[in-house]
Amino acid sequence: MWKTILRRILIMIPEIILLSILVFLLAKAMPGDPFTGSINPRSSAAQIQHLKELNGLYDPWYQQYWNWIVHLFHGDLGQSYQYHEAVSNLIGERAINTLWLSAFTMVLTYLIALPLGLYAGKHEGKLPDTVIRVYTYVTYCIPFFVILVIGLWIFGYVLNWFPTTGSVAPTAKGLGMLSSRFFHILLPGLLGALFGTVNIVQYMRSEVIDAKRSDYVRTARSKGVPEKDIYRHHIFRNSLLPIAAFGGYSITGLLNGSIFTETIFSYPGMGMLFIDSINYRDYTVITALVLLFGVMNLLGTLLSDIILGIVDPRIRIE
């Protein structure tokens, strides 16, 4: 097992290096430079030139890349030109918001999906199974951003049940702040969970169907264990670990979705920061965010692979 994990991590290193070069070059290729916004009518061409030289914008790309990497390892992601703040601080603030929203969505997704998958597997081929399959199918194939916009319209504007922008009410203090925060992630979290169950439901369902026919369940049945307990203690417990492994894979989806969720709900997280930075050409922030998202995708997959490797020895040998 340790050998597999070590090998996986070794493979990761060139991938991260490649990603960082790619991200760096792409950011360099973006039109405009970070000073475009800060130039005022009085600044002369020479001054701008000097500013650019000072920031090393005329060095060859590999040298700039090397400087960037050295700073990166010192925890210095550079300054945001738009927000006049260290990128690491900026992202740190926003990351907490994204983390809350994503964690909430993920917990809700599991809470909805696990019982549904269990129930569908138990009643395989009967009416509940069909109803659940139709539900997962419908929610899966509608583009997520359309659901968010319609959800915002119905529950945010028409019914006025939920706040439509921000992460916390500006007047909230103390305990009220916590509940206000929760109130703000409730609608996007609920929508994300209700429309993101398909993978977990299907996986859980097939796990249950496989387990139903396995020897240990037959043994339990022949010993006279009540049907309810077979599902609760034997089948459900056994499928928990592989199901948990899905958490790592779903990080990719959550991060990708956060760009849409946060833009639509004007929720100040990393996704919205990314869109803002693109519009301001704030490329220190853009490179940091793309790199961060990439590394998180990688770690999520690694986590899932390790869990699955523990559960299923066949994967380890590969």
Binding site: I142, P143, W153, V158, V290, F293, N297, T301
Partner: protein, 313 residues
């Protein structure tokens, strides 16, 4: 030689009867199976007719629409509600007809989705087939490329690329999208190809010296064609969401070119989303209906591909 004498013994009439019987018992062609499956499932047939009819309509109708005139600002028609002054679906804040934009926008969005599906599926299928058939170092290398692509934050990368490339149109946009959407298909095809390569007919072909290319594309690919058809149908439904989503964010088609996504982006204005619902809701409803119908068709296709699930006799 024995077979020759035998055919001579059978009369022409008998031969015709036997042939008809054999045909009846032989497995029907895949088109036939698909058609029977649709006939057995009435709602699916309706969905198919709606989708095909709609796609044809939005492909042909824009030829008769003067898109330049459509996109000019007409301040007099500012936010006309539906069913007034010749505006069947009303007008947006620039006085442009929503109905016409919807037709042209559908053409653009569906066109890109079709192009994206064709390119990314072809590439993904080829990638999966080659990777799965050859195995070994080739497979290992190709899988590392796959891993790397999977790590990239897709939406972010597309947005960055679109910002870099100043002068893009729907064709270059389709290619940019295609870079990031072939992996799902390739993984699926690879795993099936791995299983298929272990079968006897492939081993027989290899020993008799058939070239690898021929085995891959003439022997293995037809055998997994049902999987390919199912996957392509489903990715088409998904791909509609790709372009519209990015256009919604403002990084797909340029704002001057109508797309279903830019139409939904009208909802970004708090006034539009509450009072002037006709500026964005029709496009949203259209996407939902379209995606639901296409994946419903996909369901039927996948049922037809799996003989144990077929509804038709």
């Amino acid at each position: 030689m024995a077979t020759n004498t035998k055919t001579a013994d059978i009369s022409a009439e008998e031969l015709a009867r036997l042939t008809a019987e054999a045909k009846k018992e032989a497995a029907p062609s895949s088109t036939k199976i698909l058609w029977n499956e649709f006939k057995a499932d009435r709602p699916a047939l309706i969905a198919l007719i709606i989708v095909v009819g709609f796609i044809l309509f939005v492909m042909i109708a824009p030829l008769f629409i003067n898109s330049e005139k459509m996109m000019t600002t007409d301040i007099m028609a500012y936010l006309t509600p539906p069913l007034q002054d010749n505006f069947l679906l009303g007008a947006d804040a620039n006085g442009r007809s929503i109905g016409l934009q919807l037709i042209v926008g559908s053409r653009n969005s569906i066109g890109i989705a079709i192009g994206l599906t064709l390119i990314s599926s072809t590439f993904g299928i080829a990638w999966g087939l080659i990777s799965g058939y050859f195995g070994g170092y080739i497979d290992w290398g190709m899988q590392r490329v796959y891993d790397f692509m999977m790590m990239l934050p897709m939406t972010m990368m597309i947005i960055v690329l679109v910002t870099i490339i100043d002068n893009y149109n729907s064709i270059s946009l389709t290619f940019i999208f295609s870079i990031f959407y072939w992996m799902g298909t390739s993984r699926l095809i690879r795993s099936r190809t791995l299983a298929e390569t272990k079968k006897d007919y492939v081993a027989a072909s290899i020993t008799s010296g058939t070239s690898s290319l021929k085995i891959i594309f003439k022997e293995i690919m037809p055998n997994i064609s049902s999987l390919i058809i199912v996957d392509t149908t489903l990715s088409f439904a998904e791909n509609i969401g790709v372009e519209t989503g990015l256009s919604y964010l403002g990084f797909g088609l340029p704002p001057k070119t109508p797309s279903l996504g830019t139409l939904i982006a009208n909802a970004n204005d708090p006034n539009n989303i509450t009072q002037y619902w006709w500026t964005w809701l029709p496009a949203a409803v259209e996407i939902i209906i379209l995606c639901l119908s296409i994946s419903y068709i996909g369901q039927v296709v996948s049922r037809a591909a799996n003989s144990s699930q077929r509804r038709a006799e």
